[in-house]
Amino acid sequence: MNAPMKAPSRLSTHAGLIARGISKSFSSKGQPHKVLAEIGIEVKPGELLALTGPSGAGKSTFCRILAGLERPDAGSVELGGRALAEVPAGQRGVALMFESYALYPHLTVRGNALSPLQAPGGRLAPAEANRRVDEVLELLEIRHLHERLPGALSGGQKQRVALARLLVQSPALYLLDEPISHLDAKLRHKLRGEIRRRLSGLTVPTIWATPDGMEALSVGDRVAVIDQGRLEQIGTPEEIWLRPASARVAKLLGDPPMNLIDGELTREDGAIVFVRRDVSLTLTGALARAAERASGAAATLGVRPDAIGFVAPDAVGKASGAVPAEVYSNEPFGKHAIVTIDLGNLLAKVKTSMAGAAALGADGGIGRGIGFTFPGEGMVLFDGATGRALSGD
């Protein structure tokens, strides 16, 4: 018999995407440089996984491996119940969109959007293909441009054509690498909704990679955060927001993100105190329990911008627990304001009401003294050596 002898996988399997133990190194100046270290991710059919991390984290390399454009050094990828190791890129059924538009310059908008439907293997009857293209061009609000050539389009319009070319396909996996990063804020909000609505009816897994942590929270059913090639955390947007697993995750999320204050843990009269220069805070409750689990003295205190309070400078002192600081800048945004406070070589961002920011005085109080107070909640302690969140449970 000539049947394949490969034993079926003992691990869970489903029609979605399963990547296990993906590692990859590139050689840089003769030295191997680890880009991905044992990344394991599953995306169920119909699920959208947002993959985020700072630039250079390894997101694009991971996407290229899934698409078959790179080979992993180790690990396996399964899609729709089939192992992809020996399947060439063109036969994986992966609809791919990279940040660069890569449009055919000699084809119109319609021609570009039709192109994947005319490829061998994906060929559709012309009427059906055109119907699908019209529907997607309509969704992306570029139908009126259908006869234009890419050269006559703005950057944002080109990006939408590339998106149309992706969405007309019926693949086994949608892979979007920074699909809307060239667009303005209003259009991004609109398109996130439209794309989500289009994908939510399908039973295909989607990966949406973006360096913008807030975009990841907005679009993902689940969010995976990678940093320096390692999977930092994977979970629902709520889990990631409420319980960031590391300081590296926390600094990607929020507008502005959590303030991360590097300092040391010391003991004073039996209590654990977090100290950074002039700033010190006696830890209680869950934070104190978390501090007991630190691997050393170094720790990072994460403080949410909307939890910080401030008082008039004359209220600074033991009674209020306020630390003297200076108003560095003050930016009103209409519905809330962001006040930047200088704690001495450390700028902390505070999200406050418009009235609270206006009360700081003329010219936003910039340059004037103020008292900074730590909140009762909204703080997380991270281990200084590993950066991982310390649990106070």
Binding site: A185, R196, W241, P332, K335, D363, G367
Partner: protein, 367 residues
């Protein structure tokens, strides 16, 4: 420090008015933002102030001095450009000192000024590095240093943040505002980004198609936009704008309805309107909770965007014979609302704005 005033300024290119009858003043020590989409005339206005573009008619005043016939070099302005425009092979120190050098200021007076500016911008450590290879944020700091070093009467910022990545943008935005306030240098900021304009400027002038739409403090523009263009341009997520009819004391839209208080009725006449309400002034409640919130409508959540401390919900309103309009609500989060949930929606009537459907003007803002 000088004030700047544009008096009936026109800029014509053939048949086209790039800027039409602009009357606008920036007080001494103030930061004024010129905000609008590309092609609105904001950059042309800045270039006329700089003297790089001529004025077709009208006059520009720096204090009590007309400047429209003066060459750029005679106006004592400094510019900060979007692409930094630095000398890549010169050091940070040399770039910042360049305007002094060309004016023949050297030696101790020059060193002292340069040192002071570098200190202010946190560039002391990198004074001897060539600017090539610096981050975008550091380069733009150098360019701001070059503008500040010779105490100009006016600094003109032309899209200073648009080439920076998100982190650097947030950082430098706060920093430019701080410097402007501490130095009290009269400044005009050109930007297409409403966030930058309202965060940084004392007052914002919104332009479209060469015409000034509204000028005011950021909060005025946010709360009392003069027309639909300004209402839609300022705020993120954008204001909900919904076609409706005003009759008697009621506003009736597609699947929603509210009643105005007596004070406002006197200002309005019956007719076709566009109602505007910001997402943070829309309440989302369980389906039976409409009554106590001045509830205006019922509907279904079609899309939920978690934004960390807020959820942005899109609600498709129920209407007789199908679906009515869509409303976007921004509420404190994370919430347990999900797409598909039935809800009732409350509109904060005091925050609801009324625009004329034809003229697109806010009917309750004096022109």
């Amino acid at each position: 420090m000088s004030s700047i005033a544009f008096e009936s300024v026109f800029k014509r290119y053939g048949e086209v008015d790039a800027v039409r009858e602009l009357n606008l003043a920036c007080a001494a020590g103030e930061m004024l933002a010129l905000l609008g989409p590309s092609g609105c005339g904001k950059s042309t206005t800045l270039k006329m102030a700089a003297g790089i573009e001529s004025v077709s008619s009208g006059e520009i005043w720096f204090g009590d001095k007309p400047v429209s016939r003066l060459a750029p070099g005679e106006r004592n302005i400094a510019m900060v450009f979007e692409d930094y425009a630095l000398y890549p092979n010169m050091t940070v120190w040399e770039n910042v000192g360049f305007p002094l050098k060309v004016r023949g200021i050297t030696g101790q007076p020059a060193s002292q000024r340069i040192g002071e500016v570098l200190q202010l911008l946190g560039l002391r450590q990198m004074a001897d590095q060539p600017v090539r290879g610096l981050s975008g944020g550091a380069m733009q700091r150098v360019s701001i240093g070059r503008a500040l070093v010779r105490d100009p009467e006016v600094i003109l910022f032309d899209e200073p943040l648009s080439h920076l990545d998100a982190d650097q943008k947030v950082q430098l935005r706060a920093e430019i505002k701080r410097l402007q306030k501490l130095r009290q240098v009269t400044s005009i900021l050109v930007t297409h980004d409403q966030t930058e304009a309202i965060a940084m400027a004392d007052r914002v002038a919104v332009m479209n198609h060469g015409v000034l739409q509204q000028v005011g403090a950021p909060q005025d523009l946010y709360e009392r936009p003069a027309n639909l263009f300004v209402a839609n341009f300022i705020g993120e997520p954008p204001m909900n704008l919904m076609k409706a009819a005003y009759a008697g004391n009621r506003i009736v839209g597609e699947g929603w309805e509210v009643t105005l208080g007596t004070a406002r009725r006197a200002r309005l006449a019956d007719g076709a309107i566009v109602a505007g309400i910001r997402p943070e002034h829309v309440k989302v409640l369980p389906p039976d909770g409409a009554g106590d919130a001045g509830g205006a409508a019922r509907g279904v959540i079609t899309y939920r965007e978690p934004r960390g401390d807020a959820d942005v919900l899109t609600v498709a309103l129920d209407a007789a014979g199908g679906t009515g309009g869509r409303l976007v609500a921004e509420i404190a989060g994370p919430t347990s609302w999900r797409a598909g949930d039935k809800v009732s929606v409350g509109l904060d009537v005091d925050r609801l704005l009324v625009f004329d459907a034809v003229s697109e003007k806010n009917l309750e803002v004096a022109p």
